[in-house]
Symmetry: C2
Subunit: 551 residues, 2 copies
């Protein structure tokens, strides 16, 4: 069971320190504290356990340390910055773990870019020693890459020549699309085992600056202070503590205060229910009150729980092919929180909560399971929770009441949440993506803001896929689940990855759509993964045997 | 040996007929005239042999029939429009053939869209009977889809439920990105074996119009005439005949009048040399003269030969991992033709030649082999031929003269060709893509238009990767070839597909980058292709056995 919860006191692989507006995140991988058995994390190479801590650190920097304006990433090891993903780990991992691992590491690197772009917490990477493969890809996620100008420090993406796989954490895309390295130079760079050092790395746009070894630390500090000075983060802000998640795990369920996951192992379905607070409509919402509640403030608490639940399902429940999202509770309560958070984004914490929801919704979009939403009496698909409806592959809304229940018929309520603050990774909102073919419908939806839209209205607006009544509900949803379970899981993954992201492409969609898809293909090819493939033979001295056909 | 040359008199699967401004392209697949043994092309299903004829027809419509303003695609079979790619063929094909086949069929469908967009030869698809899988994908490539409104006619993409593979010819992308079908409806549609009929197909944006069966032919004719009337193709234009290519094939070479291919089977390298005409600089170029020369007019002749050579290498020379492009001849001759064609695009034939070069250069960009260019004394990388330099992964230019040869040092000459008429599939020019990180260099290049740029100048401008002199040339190019041959071919394919297309994405790049990559992955997965996979078991009545893990 892989657990994504940690905190700085428990870190085995990173050291987080603070000096005024500058934080330093030092990679110091403990070779023996691995996620699985069978390998050692030498030379600051990493596995999922290292990346879970990195994800935690990036999250905490944003919520617990608003005073931090620049983060220096460096290595605590003498001769190496980071050797990338551990090769023995990759060679021993299942296909599913490799793919999941790459996706999570990609999301974490995107979250570094998100912190810089949207929270002005800028990242500087200080490379001393070699930054190879995933090590250089980590650097690529930062704003400014400095490298010591000595015989030992170099950046490289040696995956192709050494391992017959691609750099899998955005490297190829970021080299040509973010750093805009000329494609022939990128070709040379990506086939060069030893990488590139010194001034040539600057000329080729691979790093931003090289500095003589003796002056390096001083120059890094200087640049970090400059970056901090250019950040418009609030002065004198006090962070809130991301307290440990309360979480009860049983064989077929995970329960958090506001999120519950029930797993049906026969149908291979997980039902994820998001709960509104059981209090009445809050009348005393204020920024001060939100700070006082801290990590218990509902919009933040529920987002953390949902994020954790999705990661749990991705990594620990591989056979669960379908996720059904439900909501439960008082819609007015959700609406009050939704409005409060969106209207108070001038406060850094409210803004961070919005940004965290944005990342979490993106994580849902990118989850390679069939995703459904059921809108039933008693649900509260309002505001940010309504975004779940537009994130899933299909949504079913029960028209009218259930036969024997006293609950009123289900409604959906759109708020400003659906029209801007939560863009997908393609850069536009879920509603815009949904209605690419009929942009006027986005306006029609906007004109119904804050209304309780019943099934008929939602159907007319195109907000849900189907609206069966209670007579048809059970049969329709049953047939759907059975049909979905009968399809090839791989094929659904490919189909969904192609249907979910219509419209514009961004570096993020390129990484997940193009780079990851090619990498997944290569992770299946004998040239990489068979007994005589490069990934398996690495380090043995034996030469891999390749099928020479070009495909 | 797969041959891409054919002509309407030899078609086995299509009937091409003409009625004033309307051409009708009727699919009437001969079940026994297959590309390979072991299957029959029932129900207008297709294999490569069918698509080679389609490609030929689309090309001839543009060059031989400028009077055609609208093309009606229909079926000559009673009950079926087209059943898509033949499943037995796919089940029996090698992975490499599947991938090559899908790429070629995609390129042909793109060429239909190109004819409509850029030559105003608009396509109308008239569906009577079922258009399933690749059959509907063919329809998706046209401008306007009409369907008979009867119990028999339907559109469907049944690959996911029936075969556990993706629709591989752009279907998923065109459904959500071109026709902008709402994603949840797309999800329903792509999992529905029987597809969608009648008005619902219109409401869901899957087709443009349905017409009662009895009125169908009449309505199609009416719409085709309307489309023809809205086209601005020239009146009274006379086509030119695409005469059979002269081509001499030997064990290790293919020789056309202006293109030669030499294959080195030890290094697995093909050298593709493009030759300028051996005449002097033409002083009497005129549109009339070009028409008189017809298919022998050099800019057209050399493009056809290059196109055929690339297809030959892709399909028949799978072990050839590297293509080296060279040019040979009088640069002034090439410059004269280049200028003439670009300046006379108001003439439909010159315009078609430009568009054909555009498609051929895109085909080169998309060729999954390592591509190099060698710029040596005696070469003529001028204008459109210089685009080859920016299409390849790396270019080597010999600085100065060769020791024992009298030829002057090599130069490169940029013309208007590099600044607009030949965009890549990402929608921008090769130079813009190359210099994404330094857009000012595109201007610097423009300021050197029509100059003979020597190696030093090309190096300074960043037009070539390396400029070794004759002392280093042999060793550097030898090391390069050996190094490339030592890498995993699969991995190079994935790497190059990610480095070549920086910058914006388009429907085309989405199809080749995202959809094809996922399809290639699925084509490797046991759920589709193992003995118990869906593709192998289709039609046997046995249920496929799936690995249920979601990846």
């Amino acid at each position: 069971m892989i657990d994504f919860q940690t905190n700085p006191d428990s870190y085995k692989h990173w050291k987080l320190s603070f000096d005024g507006p500058i934080a330093t995140l030092s990679m110091d991988v403990n070779p023996t504290a691995t996620q699985f058995d069978g390998y050692e994390l030498k030379l600051n190479s990493y596995d999922l356990s290292v990346d879970i801590e990195l994800y935690d650190a990036v999250q905490r920097l944003r919520f617990e340390h608003p005073e931090v304006r620049a983060v220096v990433m460096n290595s605590a090891k003498e001769k190496v910055f980071c050797a990338g993903a551990n090769i023995r780990m990759l060679a021993g991992a299942t296909h599913a773990h490799k793919v999941n691992f790459c996706k999570f590491t990609n999301e974490t690197r995107n979250s570094i870019e998100d912190a810089s772009k949207n929270s002005q917490q800028r990242f500087l990477c200080a490379i001393r020693g070699t930054a190879a493969g995933g090590g250089y890809e980590l650097a690529l996620a930062t704003d400014y890459i400095m490298m010591a100008d000595d015989s030992n420090s170099a950046v490289s993406l040696p995956e192709v020549p050494l391992l017959a796989v691609l750099p899998g954490t955005g490297g190829l895309t970021r080299v040509v699309d973010k750093r805009k390295v000329r494609r022939d130079r990128a070709d040379v760079f990506c086939t060069l085992e030893e990488g590139i050092r010194g001034q040539r790395a600057v000329t080729w746009r691979l790093v931003d600056e090289v500095v003589r070894g003796s002056k390096f630390e001083e120059a890094v500090k200087e640049r970090a202070l400059e970056m901090a000075a250019s950040s418009y983060r609030p002065a004198n802000a006090q962070g809130i503590e991301l307290t440990p998640l309360v979480k009860e795990q049983q064989d077929n369920s995970v329960t958090y205060p506001y999120v519950s996951v029930e797993i049906d192992r026969i149908d291979r379905v997980a039902t994820v229910t998001v709960h509104a607070p059981e209090t009445g409509v809050p009348t005393d919402l204020s920024v001060e009150e939100a700070f006082a509640q801290g990590a218990d403030f509902w919009p933040l608490a529920v987002c953390r729980q949902l994020d954790d639940a999705i990661l749990h399902l991705r990594f620990n429940e591989l056979d669960t092919g379908t996720l059904i999202f439900k909501t439960c509770g008082n819609a007015d309560v959700v609406a009050a929180y939704d409005e409060f958070v969106l209207e108070n984004q001038s406060n850094w914490l409210m803004r961070e909560i919005v940004l965290y929801w944005r990342r979490t919704l993106k994580r849902i979009d990118l989850t390679s399971r069939t995703m459904l939403a059921y809108v039933e009496p008693g649900s509260c698909f309002v505001g940010v929770l309504a975004e779940l409806l537009f994130s899933v592959d299909r949504s079913y809304m029960l028209e009218g009441q259930l036969e024997d229940a006293g609950l009123p018929a289900a409604t959906i309520r759109l708020t400003a949440a659906s029209f801007g603050p939560y863009p997908m990774s393609n850069g536009i909102t879920r509603l815009k993506t949904r209605f690419l073919g009929e942009p006027e419908t986005v306006d029609a939806c906007k004109s119904r803001l804050s209304e309780n839209l019943n099934a008929q209205a939602c159907d007319a607006l195109g907000l849900v896929t189907y609206t069966p009544d209670f007579i048809d509900w059970d049969q329709e949803t049953r047939m759907l689940i059975e049909e979905r379970a009968s399809f090839s899981p791989d094929c659904l993954t490919g189909m969904e990855a192609n249907l979910r992201f219509a419209g514009p492409e961004t570096m993020e969609t390129k990484i997940f759509g193009r780079l990851s898809a090619w990498q997944n293909w290569i992770f299946q090819r004998p040239n990489a993964v068979s007994k005589k493939g490069a990934l398996q033979l690495y380090g043995t001295g034996a030469r891999p045997e390749y099928d020479l056909k070009r495909v």
